[in-house]
């Protein structure tokens, strides 16, 4: 690991269980993970392996059933909803597969939103600057429904960076986009990430996207397997969805 050694995100023996019709279902087990400041890490794995569950706990959206999780040294597992909200407001940015723009706000207003929540007086100018950076200056006053999928995700990326978060969580950011747009969005994401020096936690089953991260970890049946390098033999065990991408990769 060639990064500075300050750990921004750490988990210890993290586990998540849910009750399903009186039966306990284990979603996550024995997750030990440490992410350094400025690192980019991809969590890969097949559908149902627990990637998204892990992401939601790491980002403080959900609580673990067992174990500890620290974000910027804050013990998320001990904080209530309100306190975790504050941690997110101070340190976290998000990009979602479904973009999740607020449909009744314009692109500009969507981007401004996190800055406003942080009481940033300069929200509008910053949002305009970011929209320019993602190439959407002309569409600032358009509503999400008037934008294409790729454009919506660019707005979402601008929104994610406006508060210059310490850590950015991206959940399948290209999952809903075609191949060409995906590449474009990924470029944008990694460029901005580099520019702002943000730590990136990326959940995906797109192996090309994953490979752009400095480190990759794989989830299997709720457990974490470290994968410094993605080799050909292992890649066949990944989700069948990724076969085409794998072929290109070879």
């Amino acid at each position: 690991m060639n990064l500075n050694s300050e750990i921004i995100l750490k988990t210890q023996l993290l586990a998540k269980h849910v009750m399903l019709e009186d039966k306990q279902l284990t979603l996550l087990q024995d997750i030990n993970l440490a992410v350094s400041t400025g690192e980019t890490i991809a969590i890969v794995g097949s559908s149902g392996s627990g990637k998204t569950t892990l992401l939601s706990i790491l980002a403080g959206l959900d609580l673990p059933s067992y174990g500890e999780v620290y974000l910027k040294n804050k013990p998320l597992h001990q904080l209530n909803e309100e306190q975790r909200s504050q941690v997110r407001a101070d340190h976290v940015g998000f990009i979602f597969q479904q973009f999740l723009l607020i449909s009744s706000l314009t692109a500009l207003e969507n981007v401004m939103l996190p800055a406003e929540l942080a009481n940033d007086d300069n929200a509008k100018q910053q949002a305009l600057d970011l929209l320019a950076q993602v190439g959407l200056s002309e569409r600032a006053n358009h509503f999400p429904a008037q934008l294409s999928g790729g454009e919506q995700q660019r707005v979402a990326i601008a929104r994610a960076f406006i508060t210059k978060p310490d850590i950015l969580f991206a959940d399948e950011p290209t999952g809903n986009l075609d191949k060409y747009t995906s590449t474009h969005i990924a470029d944008l994401l990694f460029d901005l990430n580099k520019q702002f020096g943000t730590t990136l936690v990326l959940v995906t089953h797109d192996l090309i996207l994953a490979q752009r991260c400095q480190r990759r970890v794989e989830m299997q049946g709720g457990r974490l397997i470290n994968k410094q390098h993605l080799d050909h033999t292992k890649s066949e065990q990944l989700n069948t969805d990724t076969k085409i991408i794998q072929a290109e990769n070879v």
């Binding site: 909200s85 998000f94 999740l100 607020i102 939103l113 929540l117 959940d171 809903n176």
Partner: protein, 872 residues
């Protein structure tokens, strides 16, 4: 940071502005606005109509309220002998409340013109008489011009036309009443409070009350009726009533037009009940619409709240943001509602202005500075705003709280439409708050706790039953559907699959359709009943004082002219003197009866008695047997008594009653108790004897006839040969009655339109509420290759099936409710309405089908890609 600079305020306003502009809040705005608008217009409109009707109908008693007594009320309190009520006190109170007063004294007396004399009814009136309605007189017998008059000048009289021929006098001649002489100034053509009672046979002579002493007719022991008339604001009259009623004694009667047993009072009472009920149902419908729409509002905003929370927005930020958003939305909707309500009421007034009494239209012109608009007053305004606020608060509070509590996890897991793991307490609260709010609304609006509670409890029971029944029907239709074509199959499968959502939807459809059917059916029943009360050829002439020797001639005349007539009834005057062995107490004042009263209560006046072989029409024996049906005791002396009198005097079957007829005393047993339709225009009697008792007593006779306009001349000619027969012409009264009923009917129709509108909104809101889920489904079906026509048909059929099931259930529920309402609230004949079942089913199916299809139309015409993008 100032309030307006706060981020949550900015965000809230921004959100509202965009959403309003983009039409995302249309349904919720419409729902609240409609609630407010219907309350505003209904309260304003029905209030005005009621007032107008009352103003019109109060002319029948020449006042809003009348205090009638057989003893003059003393001028002022006598210190040594304090009395409950003095005229000074009444005058003082009336002036305080800004109430107008008039007085009249009624008595029978002989009048003379030279040697000719006649028994007349003297009506001595004060100069402010009549307070309501018009006294129309004709100053010249040849001119047809009628003039509205007050009391005649001193020394003059107005007389009824018949007296001219009876006394062989003309206008301008002099007649003697008691010790004084009067000049006949005019012929009275219409006397507002002329008695409907066919037994007051006297011809009217109207004199100024200031001339009464001059006649010296008022002597100790004279039989007089004093009437003190009052008119003024509704509230003032209420206040006067509250002050006066506790002070009244048994001989004093305080009544208004509605407390009189007349067809008019009956129609008015029912109309009023109907208007209140329709308004209540309108409110319920609007409340249902708000609750449906607010649920959808919360669902739509769930993912936004998730995003806000994921971005780190605090709970208090979101709470403030959405409470403000909702408050602004409510204020906007309420304002819009007031505006719409005002316009609706004006349109309503405009539509029926020809039917409104002149008085209302004139008042309104004065109220609104000649702009022609009618001011609705503060009460409707306050009620409307209150309704809007309560709806916006109570029906939205649970969905709003759920919305605010949305977990940020929805950004990952997707929107959860149904909040899971709810505590039982919360679930109960979720229903309890809106129910209590509804109860409060109903109560505030109707001031009738019983009615409100029963409407509510009935509603809850019906909804629960419907929920269960609806699911059964859906399951049943699924089975049928599996044997039908592809569209039907898909439609009915959808119906069944979304059973929970659909059964909620079904209940609101059903309730909306049921309430609409109910209002339509009741309206029809009321109009029919009113029509039936005054059918074509309702008797318009009463012949009174027919002598025994004239009966045959009258019967002959009726037969010759083929006139429709009631039977001819004998009338014998008599006084009830004892019930069993108890002597009837003498009329006593309240003060004296307090404490020790041994005598039984009596009628206090002579009764008109008759005898009959068979039970008269419109009479029903409710207890005992009519003598014709009693083979054993048919010849025993017996009497049949009217049920309200029996109740008042506490007379039971088998009691023996003693009557004094002139100098003779007879005692008979009560063999039956009758229900009498007092509204029928025929002679009605409290006491009917069997022929054995009264047939041999000298009697006068009475009959009621329908005389068409072309036969009036023949009747006059016939009667000129029999001057002693009195004629009471009730044509004017019937015409007036018809007019009032026509007004009421128009008002009822207007309200119906408003309620129908509210019902339609519920349906639209409910269809809209299911759109999101449908969008997802259509996307999936389109993706897997379902053709447009298949999707269109299956959606149409799903809604049609839903509408038809709702229509059917609504019809059954309506039938039940209408039965209960008719028998308990309106006290009218119950009936079944199968023809409306078809209406309910067909209208439900087509309306829900069309609205559903229209709402989905946009979705159906979107490309698969757009659809998928929207729903992913």
């Amino acid at each position: 940071m100032s309030f307006f600079m706060a981020n949550w305020v900015k965000q809230s306003i921004r959100l509202l502005k965009h959403e309003l502009k983009r039409g995302e809040l249309t349904i919720i705005v419409l729902a609240i606005a409609l609630g407010v608008a219907s309350v505003f217009s209904l309260a304003g409109f029905s209030g005005k109509i009621k007032q107008a009707l009352l103003n019109e109908s109060t002319s029948f008693i020449a006042a809003d309220r009348v205090l009638q007594t057989s003893r003059k009320i003393a001028l002022q309190d006598n210190i040594t002998q304090p009395i409950a009520l003095s005229r000074d006190a009444i005058t003082h109170k009336s002036q305080q409340l800004n109430i107008n007063q008039a007085q009249q004294v009624l008595m029978s007396s002989m009048v003379f013109a030279g040697d000719v004399m006649a028994l007349v009814e003297i009506q001595a009136i004060s100069s402010s008489y009549p307070l309501r309605g018009e006294l129309l007189v004709n100053y010249s017998i040849n001119a047809n011009e009628l003039t509205a008059a007050n009391a005649p000048e001193l020394g003059t009289v107005f007389i009824e036309e018949k007296l001219l021929s009876l006394l062989e006098v003309a206008i301008g001649d002099v007649i003697d009443i008691g010790e004084s002489s009067f000049v006949i100034k005019a012929v009275a053509k219409q006397i507002p409070d002329a008695s409907f009672s066919v037994f007051t046979s006297g011809v009217k002579v109207i004199i100024n009350i200031a001339d009464l002493d001059k006649t010296q007719l008022v002597q100790p022991g004279s039989r007089l009726t004093y009437k003190y008339l009052f008119s003024g604001d509704v509230d003032a009259i209420k206040a006067l009533t509250a002050w006066l009623e506790p002070k009244l004694n048994d001989s004093q009667r305080w009544f208004d037009i509605q407390s009189k047993q007349s067809p008019l009072a009956n129609a008015l009472n029912k109309a009023e009940k109907y208007l209140s009920l329709a308004s209540l149902l309108g409110i319920i419908l609007a409340a249902v619409a708000v609750s449906v729409a607010s649920r959808r509002y919360a669902q739509r905003h769930q993912s936004s709240v998730g995003v806000y929370k994921a971005m780190g927005a605090s709970l208090s930020h979101i709470r403030k943001l959405y409470y403000l958003h909702w408050s602004l939305l409510s204020v906007f909707s309420i304002t819009l509602g007031l505006l719409v309500g005002y316009i609706l009421a004006q349109l309503g007034f405009y539509a029926i202005q020809d039917y409104l009494p002149v008085q209302l239209t004139m008042n309104s012109v004065n109220n609104s500075n000649f702009s022609g608009l009618i001011t609705l007053g503060f009460y409707p305004l306050i009620m409307a705003v209150f309704t809007g606020l309560l709806c916006a608060l109570a029906f939205a509070i649970t969905p709003l709280q759920e919305l605010i509590a949305t977990s940020p996890l929805v950004v990952i897991r997707g929107v959860n439409l149904k909040p899971s793991n709810q505590k039982f307490r919360d679930r109960v609260g979720q229903f309890l708050i809106p129910l209590l709010a509804l109860l409060l609304l109903l109560f505030v609006f109707s001031s009738d706790l019983m009615l409100s509670v029963s409407l509510l409890i009935g509603g809850v029971i019906v909804s629960t039953l419907l929920l269960v029944f609806g699911r059964l029907l859906m399951r049943l239709s699924r089975n049928i559907g599996s044997k039908a074509g592809a569209s039907w199959h898909l439609a009915l499968a959808n119906l069944q699959r979304r059973a929970h959502a659909n059964s909620v939807q079904l209940v609101s459809f059903t309730i909306a359709i049921k309430l609409l059917l109910m209002i339509i059916v009741l309206r029809g029943a009321l109009l029919n009943e009113w029509q039936a009360q005054l059918p074509e050829q309702t008797p318009n002439v009463f012949l009174v004082n027919i002598a025994q020797s004239q009966v045959d001639h009258v019967e002959q005349f009726i037969e010759q002219q083929s006139i429709i007539a009631s039977d001819i009834y004998a009338v014998i005057r008599g006084r009830l003197t004892a019930i069993n062995s108890d002597k009837i107490a003498k009329e006593v004042s309240k003060e004296q009866t307090d404490g020790s009263d041994n005598g039984r209560k009596g009628v206090g006046r002579e009764l008109n008695l008759t005898w009959r072989e068979d039970l008269p029409k419109e009479n029903n024996v409710v207890q005992g047997k009519w003598w014709q049906n009693d083979l054993i005791d048919a010849n025993k002396p017996q009497v049949s008594i009217e049920q309200t009198l029996a109740k008042r005097l506490d007379i039971k079957l088998g009691d023996s009653l003693t009557f004094q007829l002139g100098s003779e005393v007879i005692t008979v047993d009560v063999s039956s108790i009758r229900e009498v339709n007092w509204q029928s225009m025929q002679p009605n009697f409290y006491m009917i004897f069997n022929p054995q008792v009264l047939a041999d007593y000298p009697a006068s006779y009475i009959s009621s006839l329908y005389v068409s306009a072309d036969k009036k001349v023949q009747l006059q000619n016939f009667l000129s040969a029999y001057p002693t027969i009195s004629v009471i012409d009730v044509d004017v009264m019937i015409a007036q009655l018809r007019k009032v009923i026509e007004q009421v009917s128009k008002a009822v129709e207007f309200i119906l339109v408003l309620v129908v509108f509210a019902g339609c909104l519920v349906l639209v809101a409910q269809v809209q509420a299911s759109m999101e889920e449908r969008e997802r489904e259509i996307a999936i079906l389109r993706t897997i290759g379902a053709k447009g026509a298949l999707l269109r048909n299956s959606i149409l059929l799903e809604f049609v099936a839903l509408g038809a099931i709702a229509g059917l259930m609504a019809s059954v529920a309506m039938e039940l409710t209408v039965y209960l309402l008719q028998s308990y609230l309106f006290k009218m004949q119950t009936s079944f309405h199968f023809e409306y079942w078809l209406l309910g089913i067909v209208a439900g199916a087509s309306f829900v089908g069309v609205v559903g299809l229209l709402s989905c139309w946009r979705l159906l015409n979107m490309s698969s890609v757009t659809l998928i993008r929207r729903t992913m």
